[in-house]
Symmetry: none
Subunit: 155 residues, 5 copies
Amino acid sequence: SKKPRRERAQRERSVVENLTVGLNVIDRDDKHINETVNINFEDVIAEPDAAQGIEAIWRGVFLIFTGVRFWAYRLLALFLAIPIAFVWAIVFTLITFVYIWVATPFLKVFDILLNIIRRVWTGLVMTVCEPFALAFASVFSGIRIKHQSKPDSEV
Amino acid sequence: SKKPRRERAQRERSVVENLTVGLNVIDRDDKHINETVNINFEDVIAEPDAAQGIEAIWRGVFLIFTGVRFWAYRLLALFLAIPIAFVWAIVFTLITFVYIWVATPFLKVFDILLNIIRRVWTGLVMTVCEPFALAFASVFSGIRIKHQSKPDSEV
Amino acid sequence: SKKPRRERAQRERSVVENLTVGLNVIDRDDKHINETVNINFEDVIAEPDAAQGIEAIWRGVFLIFTGVRFWAYRLLALFLAIPIAFVWAIVFTLITFVYIWVATPFLKVFDILLNIIRRVWTGLVMTVCEPFALAFASVFSGIRIKHQSKPDSEV
Amino acid sequence: SKKPRRERAQRERSVVENLTVGLNVIDRDDKHINETVNINFEDVIAEPDAAQGIEAIWRGVFLIFTGVRFWAYRLLALFLAIPIAFVWAIVFTLITFVYIWVATPFLKVFDILLNIIRRVWTGLVMTVCEPFALAFASVFSGIRIKHQSKPDSEV
Amino acid sequence: SKKPRRERAQRERSVVENLTVGLNVIDRDDKHINETVNINFEDVIAEPDAAQGIEAIWRGVFLIFTGVRFWAYRLLALFLAIPIAFVWAIVFTLITFVYIWVATPFLKVFDILLNIIRRVWTGLVMTVCEPFALAFASVFSGIRIKHQSKPDSEV
């Protein structure tokens, strides 16, 4: 029963690849939304010229850091990526649904009601406050600018 | 009785399509009012170059996220879209009716009354306050600007 | 007696049409005073590209929303529009009458009285306060703006 | 059993060198992130012309300083570099994982919620505060500037 | 046994000289980090023309000052320079090690965490404060400037 199983696995894989045919598996951060954590070995650990350890240790450090990161991330992603993606898919679907069918129409109703309140409130405030502003606008009514161009000194 | 039923279903569908002949079913957000939730996979989840998991898992994550979103939204919309649309239709009709037949005429009456109050109030405030403003307007009456154009150095 | 009744109805209708011959029945909001509630289906409900339900449901939603709005508003207007119009007609007539025959002449009297008070009050305030303003006007008498036009380097 | 051991060691070393073939072992601070501690003998200890000790002591001081630094750093790095690199690899992996799979999607959700709150809050604030701003805008509505150019004194 | 000892001393000296072959023993303050204490006799003691003592005394003062400085510094450096250089070498090594292997990676982690907090905090502050700024922007919406040029007095 090994052969049919392998065949099935192969078929499944080919189905997955067909469904994700447009997915960019090389550059997985097209829009650079996680550029902040795009951190390599040389961004974290560096020995300046004045303090360099043994070359073998440096090679070992590089191997340990990159290797551990590589495999630790792979393991975490292997077990957690799918369920987390599932949860976020549900969360975003609910938010999208509520936003489309509840929030947007409600904000439209809110705008209309606010428009009525705004007109009444603007009318009251303008009536009470504008006369003061108009009265004190006269402060700027008497600006007289006298231009005194000095005669050309060359004449 | 299967055939007539199918025929009836087909006829009903063709009626719906005739009634919605101008509806854009491809671009359903013509005015971009829900652009905020126009969120795809690459807007939410991204692995920068320094942290990339196994390719198969990445493909799986993509499938799970997009698949779950697709079907979860479809299911929600299938059962809730029609009743929610019905409710909003009633709400917007009532608001529209009240706005047209009550709010707008009332705001017109309000404007007229406010106009009378405004004239009386403006008259009183202007009478009391404007003289002060006029008196202090003289502060700006003596601005003398002296133009001192430096002679052209090329002459 | 069926024929005379139909004739009478036709005559009545033709009378109504003659009396409203200049009325724009197509564009009923010439001055856009109710633009706020000029809300169509695409202003309220929209599915962005990332979240689109089944096409049939979308067509159904459109039909339900526009259909319910259309008929609900028609029904409301059928029974309420005429009495509401009657009430507003009475209200606006009363306000207009009072405005023309009481408010405007009173405001004219008020303006004249205010004018006398204003001249006395302005005279007093100007006499007391303007000298201070004139004295402090010298603060701005020393503004010297030097225009330095750079010579054209191309000549 | 000495020979096979040496061979194995050699093989291991060649494996490490193959795995780190792109690693720059000469310039270990490509991005100058630790330039601050790139401190040599002449940056710390210097005798100006007016105060110079015996030449042999100066040579000795140089040897002691550079030698102690060289070997002390090598020893520290020999025992601590690998475990520290391991710890940081784990830490950065966890941070990267949480950032990619939890923080970024959460911030996206936060943006959407904030967008709704922003629209409601903007509407309220604008409705309450804008009328005051509009009313007091009239203060600047009466600016009248009178230009008085003195007659040319050359005429 | 005197000869071998001298030979050994000579050999040691030649070893030291080989190890410090690149050391500049003439200009020991290449980077001028201790220019502040590069003080000679003429920087400290000087008799202006109007106050000059006996020439012999002046010569004696010069000899005493420079001689005492020279030998006192040499003695101090002979006994203390080497141990002090040792201590500083240890101190700088520890600081360098901690900086490279603890401080720099920690600062990187700090940057990432700060990035998340920054986005949340920016969102909150913008949401709360921006509407006020928008509302009060209307204060400047009513600037109306009326130019009144007086008729030419020459006509």
